[in-house]
């Protein structure tokens, strides 16, 4: 643990490369089935996918495989999973079936290899299909139901089983914030559809307070404990005022703080920034009310900063 580890963002580099490669391999599989073999049944894609996945997992399980074989295995396995899920999903014409298959594939990947990037890609696919199925079936309060992924992800992250499920946990934690980017609070899709939000907001506040409590429990000294309480109260108020996308981003920021995670900090900041930009175009509230709300939130946060700053300054003086 004293040696210098590769930084976290290197995984993102590999993940992006694997994702693009997987897209090419998916196109290759589909072209092979539909254009070269001229098979018209979508289920044939799943068969090609199963071959891909088998090859991919085999490569990934080789201890002496080089970097090229590892990358080939990763991209092939990711593409294979997508082809299996896509083939069965199109054949059955049901996004729920596609989601169930994707969840099953995730279990297969977790059980059969340790590759974190593959696990994340498959978990993200399963989570996306679950949300797509909820939206596709016009489920009422689809957004609220999707928010249930967050506590599951947090549990897996903070009380992990021995099997490494951190990539799945991260995919679950990001499900709701990413849904909010596309579908909630004037997201780019599903404008005007009632996806709920009150339950999700309440859930975010409870989780936020839970994380604040964890920090409070581990904090020594009255000064720091007082600061945590002030912050928790103000942040609860802010989560109540902000639309649900904003409160989801606040939760990610709190998680970054409690676990000391720079990737979560970066994601939280990016989500909060895009939320404010997107909020401008929200049609649910007029611009005047939005402006007053944002100013109120800003003042609450600045007041909390000032109070905590004062506590810090007094601590230093004494």
């Amino acid at each position: 643990m004293n040696s210098v580890q590769m930084p976290w963002y290197v995984r993102w580099v590999v993940g992006v490369g694997a994702w693009v490669t997987a897209l090419v391999l998916i196109a290759l599989g589909a072209t092979f089935v539909f254009a070269l073999l001229e098979v018209k049944e979508p289920i044939a894609m799943s068969l090609i996918g199963a071959v891909y996945l088998g090859f991919g997992l085999w490569f990934l399980r080789q201890d002496d495989a080089g970097v090229f074989a590892q990358q080939l295995g990763l991209a092939t396995a990711a593409a294979g999973t997508a082809l299996i899920v896509g083939g069965i999903g199109v054949e059955s014409e049901s996004s729920w079936v596609a989601f169930i298959i994707a969840a099953g594939m995730l279990a297969v990947v977790i059980a059969s290899c340790d590759d974190k990037i593959l696990q994340f890609l498959v978990a993200a696919l399963a989570a996306s299909l679950c949300v797509a199925a909820l939206l596709d079936s016009n489920t009422r309060y689809a957004g609220d139901l999707a928010a249930l992924a967050t506590p599951v992800g947090l549990y897996l992250l903070l009380r992990p089983p021995q099997r490494d499920l951190m990539p799945t946990a991260i995919a679950l934690i990001l499900t709701y914030p990413l849904l909010s980017v596309f579908a909630l609070d004037a997201g780019y899709l599903f404008r005007g559809v009632d996806l709920g939000g009150q339950f999700a907001r309440a859930l975010h506040i409870v989780l936020f307070l839970g994380l604040a409590y964890l920090h409070w429990r581990h904090t020594a000294g009255d000064k720091a404990k007082r600061q945590t309480v002030v912050f928790a109260v103000v942040a609860t108020l802010v989560c109540l005022l902000l639309p649900v996308g904003g409160s989801a981003a606040m939760l990610i920021l709190m998680l970054a703080f409690v676990t000391g995670s720079k990737p979560f900090a970066l994601l939280g900041v990016a989500l909060q920034a895009q939320f404010i930009v997107r909020y401008y175009y929200s049609l649910e509230v007029n611009l005047l009310n939005k402006s007053l709300l944002l100013m109120a939130v800003g003042i609450a946060l600045l007041a909390s900063w000032w109070l905590m700053h004062r506590v810090d300054a007094r601590g230093k003086e004494s």
């Binding site: 590892q70 990358q71 000391g260 944002l294």
Partner: protein, 337 residues
């Protein structure tokens, strides 16, 4: 990672111990919290609170004046904004510019100046192009940026300046057919590289307050992200974008050289290699398309996609190898992934 404050290896490292059974599920969270760099994260939280508070408040002000409220007379709008600007300016001086609060107040004054210009345009309907507003804003707040001693303020100024240049290019140069939109992106990319170079020179000249890592990284992402567009356009069959591709290659090589030899910074190398890999993937796609003729038979298409898939795998592997090698060189004793 020793030497990296608030290192994020925390969670991943403890997860490794959890996997080997050295840490139980009950102990996991305690260990995460105990190993966290409390001083770093306390400072981070304080800064995040200030930035979030100021960000929400200033966004609210922008939204408020964008609403164009009838109840508020033009005179009242001007008075409100000018008073706010003055108040923010005085607050910055009182709180002092070497403190975060003072710097945030001066940033607020700069934002109010832009909103004031927008309200003037809204009230008098001068018919001026949007680039003029941003150009005036750039010039007006430059002295404050220079006095600010804050990289956040400089970053805001750079964003305003780049927006002014982009709008000028769009509304004047592209609209009148003087340059291509692709070449405009190249020019904006070069300008961003210029800002990055200025930042590095300022640090070299002893201006320590510019020396925040995020500022460098964000400028690198803006520069490469902007040049990435024409480079990608070249890959998608637009030969007119060749100068953009050439600039992208030159800039990437320069970043590689500067940030491994002169100013070692592995994060910049990782960003550069990511962009370069993506461009190389796209260029490979173009070459394969031209050599194999992907529009021909199904067999050719399958063969071409197979080649492209292998090319992408080779590039990702090469990128990872290069990152491992450079990381090892820049951090003796590093662990290979």
């Amino acid at each position: 990672m020793p030497g990296d404050p608030g290192s994020s290896a925390n969670l991943a490292e403890i997860q490794k111990l959890r996997r080997t059974g050295e840490v139980s599920a009950d102990e996991f969270l305690d260990l995460v919290l105990n190993r966290r760099d409390n001083t770093y994260w306390h400072q981070w939280a304080m800064r995040a609170l200030l930035v979030l508070g100021a960000g929400h408040f200033l966004s609210g002000v922008v939204f408020f004046f964008a609403y164009n409220w009838d109840e508020l007379t033009p005179l009242a709008r001007f008075a409100l904004l000018q008073s706010a600007m003055l108040l923010a300016f005085v607050t910055a001086l009182v709180l002092r510019l070497d403190r975060a609060a003072g710097q945030a107040a001066l940033i607020a004054a700069s934002v109010f100046a832009g909103v004031l210009l927008a309200v003037i345009g809204q009230t008098y309907q001068t018919g001026a192009d949007a680039w003029k507003l941003f150009a005036a804003w750039t010039v007006l707040v430059l002295p404050w940026a220079m006095a600010s001693r804050s990289s956040a303020h400089w970053f805001l100024w750079i964003l305003i300046c780049l927006t002014a240049c982009s709008l000028y290019g769009e509304q004047r140069l592209v609209a009148l057919g003087r340059i291509d939109r692709v070449n405009l992106a190249t020019i904006i990319g070069i300008l961003s590289v210029g800002f990055l170079a200025a930042r590095e020179l300022a640090v070299r000249a002893g201006l320590d307050w510019v020396d925040s890592g995020w500022f460098r990284r964000v400028l690198v992402v803006i520069a490469l992200g902007t040049l990435f567009v024409p480079a990608l356009q070249f890959a998608f069959m637009s030969d007119r974008a060749f100068p953009g591709l050439a600039t992208f290659v030159l800039v990437s090589l320069s970043f590689g050289l500067v940030y491994t030899k002169l100013l070692p910074d592995f994060s910049v190398i990782a960003v550069t290699i990511t962009f370069a890999t993506l461009v190389a993937m796209a260029i490979g796609g173009r070459v394969i398309h031209e050599v194999v003729d992907l529009g021909g038979s199904a067999g050719q298409l399958v063969f071409g996609l197979l080649l492209l898939g292998l090319w992408c795998v080779a590039l990702t592997s090469g990128a990872l190898r290069l990152l491992n090698y450079l990381h090892g060189k820049m951090n003796p004793g590093a662990v290979d992934e």
